[in-house]
Symmetry: C2
């Protein structure tokens, strides 16, 4: 049997979502393109939805995750803070660790098949 085990994780603060896969994707896109509106476009999210997701992260976290730069050629932009980049790293690492852990756990199912 060709088994695979999959997972989706998310982190809550005070019982409300703080970080999840979609939110981390948004942060990565902001880091890449330097603008919330461009990041939203790239992920095919409405600006409103993206703004709410980012606002929720900025107000739930211990520190701000992004800063805004105003004006300049082509208007202002949004940049990740060091804290924001650290959160991406931690989330990705936990996800990776979880996948490895679950791959080991799957052995229980394979063992059952051998016994039966």
């Amino acid at each position: 049997m060709n088994y695979k085990i999959k997972s989706r994780i998310w982190i809550e603060v005070d019982d409300r979502v703080f970080l999840g896969e979609g939110r981390i994707q948004l942060l990565k896109a902001i880091d890449e393109v330097g603008s919330l509106s461009k990041a939203a476009k790239a992920l095919q999210l409405s600006y409103k939805k993206a703004w709410h997701l980012l606002n929720s992260m900025n107000t739930s976290g211990k520190q701000h995750i992004t800063t805004n730069s105003i004006g300049g050629k082509g208007g202002g932009g949004t940049q990740l803070t060091e804290y924001g980049r650290d959160l991406i790293k931690i989330f990705d690492q936990i996800n990776k660790n979880c996948w490895s852990f679950l791959d080991q756990e799957l052995e229980a199912l394979k063992k059952l098949d051998e016994e039966k």
Copy 2:
């Protein structure tokens, strides 16, 4: 910060879902009430949907997960096989282990807050 980490896991066979939380719930309900139609009702699933879920499990697993008894007072019923009950146990155990594992992993996030 009052962090919690949550997860949802599922197991695939040949890249198609075999077991997930909803499917395990259905198996538990069948085990409780001894009938697919009653189990579907209890979970507010249509009979058609419940039938497809169960059929998918029965045809993807190494062995049959349920057996049907025909006729008798009140019509036939559906019972879990020993293999079916083992799958519930394994899935629940992997889930529990995953939650404990993720609780430890969350320390990385708490440490970040302390450093900053």
